[in-house]
């Protein structure tokens, strides 16, 4: 882990919606290559917004975002800005709560869509790696199905494979298991876990406590757009410093 050059560096990011909702209040975050970060916090605390700021699905109102050496400053207008944003998105995979697979394409077409359309690869060039990924998430037999034929857990695993097909440097997970039936959560978490073990840099917003406790290198608690507490899973779960952290954890752990 070289602390000199973090994979993700977020500096003093603010986000204000509709001129009045101050959702992020000066967030700083550094994530090193290969690290797995879990962000916890009550709903509405700004976790998802922060995640969406990292790949610029939301434009920060102030501050700067740096992903693998590409920097975007909020409010700045430069000619290369658009291509820099695309550059960051190419290096960043994202999984959504609602999967957002493309319903008009088969599973395989979903996975090669990024490489073919964005990276301009030939179809037959992209297919072998897509099949490899499909095997890796355990869905080889669903290759030619449309997403609507798949269970939620299977859809989310395809969505992960779709993101990985772009060979991203970092993966963002935005509550990837929140829309799933309880019995389907395990298969998705298992894939995320393997991804973490293989050295992917991961930032996950999730209430999946097993993942936070056993897989994450660091856990951060967000409240009202600011960090409340940060530490190793051990520290956060066994001896949280803040009363609010304790309350929140007992609440979600019941």
């Amino acid at each position: 882990m070289e602390n000199s050059n973090p994979m993700v560096k977020i500096t003093n990011v603010h986000k204000v919606f509709n001129r009045k909702h101050h959702v992020l209040c000066g967030i700083d975050l550094e994530v090193n290559s290969g690290e797995t970060i879990v962000i916890l916090g009550p709903s509405g605390s700004g976790k998802s917004t922060l995640l969406r700021c990292i790949n610029l699905l939301e434009e920060p109102t102030a501050g700067s975002i740096e992903v693998d050496g590409t920097v975007i400053h909020a409010g700045e207008n430069s000619n290369q800005r658009d291509s820099q944003i695309l550059d960051i998105r190419k290096k960043t995979g994202m999984c959504f709560q609602s999967f957002n697979l493309f319903p008009h394409m088969t599973v395989l077409e979903n996975i090669i869509e990024g490489p073919v359309t964005v990276l301009k690869q030939q179809q037959n060039q992209a297919i072998p790696y897509a099949e490899e990924l499909l095997d890796w998430v355990g869905l080889t037999e669903k290759r030619d199905e449309h997403p609507s034929r798949l269970s939620g857990g299977q859809q989310q695993r395809v969505a992960i494979a779709r993101s990985l097909a772009m060979k991203p440097k970092i993966m963002l997970f935005d509550e990837p298991t929140s829309a799933l039936d309880p019995e389907l959560i395990g298969e998705v978490v298992e894939v995320m876990e393997r991804l973490a073990k293989e050295g992917m840099t991961i930032i996950a917003v999730t209430h999946e406590m097993h993942f936070a406790r056993d897989v994450a290198d660091r856990v951060l608690i967000m409240e009202d757009g600011s960090w409340l507490e940060e530490g190793t899973p051990e520290q956060i779960f066994s001896r949280p410093k803040h009363q609010r952290t304790r309350q929140f954890l007992t609440h979600i752990l019941q």
């Binding site: 994202m94 957002n100 609507s148």
Partner: protein, 292 residues
Amino acid sequence: MENTTTDQQTPLILSGIPPEAQATLHGIEAKKTRYRRNLIIAFAVLITLMAGALIIIGLDFKFMVKWVPFILAGIGYTLLVSFLAISLACVLAVAGALGRLSLNPVLNSIATSYVSLVRGTPLLVQVYMWYIALPQIGKSLEDLGITGVQALFTLPAIPAGILALGVCYGAYMTETVRAGIQSIKIGQVEAAKALGMTNSQAMRRIIFPQAVRVIIPPVSNEFIAMIKDSSLVSLMGVWELSFRAIKIGRRHFQSLEMLIMVAMIYWVMCFLLQLVQEKIEAYMARGDRRAS
């Protein structure tokens, strides 16, 4: 969906179902069969009554048959005008929808006024505008010193008709296409963007293909309406279907026969289009949860 096609009197053999449940299932099946049978009877009676009425009022069928080839000769113009106009309308509709959704003030204002002006004026007025008012603009331009435009602005009947219909339907369809594009969930754009797609890539690869699926029924509607509105070119003296029928009917004082006949021809064309629409919809629906 499955059992409606395979049930036809076949006894339901489901093991482990109590006899009273079995009886209920049979009751439901019998009800469905009865409904289908009665529906067919109702249609048959209705058609017979209509045919009977035509005979009672003394329709001259011989006269009708005699003029069929002449009337049908106009079908070429009807189809030519309709297909070219709907093609033009589709192009304008996509461009218009993108303009309506554009953040560029120039494009947005052009598209918005196009839709508003064209939807807000009668097609009849527009047809005349293209045919007999446009040459006047040509003349004014000539007077301003731009020579040679008069000929360009004086359109023959058929191109004028195609432009009038295409531009008019393009405006209505702009709103259809826009609604189709906006019906696609925001998550689809976000997923496309998260992969690194540009806005136009996301539109072409992800949004538009899904929007097309949504707008097939309303666009088919427009197409069917267009087939019939193509009769407006008869105003400019084009010998298409309805023009011929009306001419012959008037000349022989047998308008009823001619009008019924031409109405049937339009109806058959629209019916065929409807079949095509169903085929396209079925094709588009593959992978759709609702279809499975």
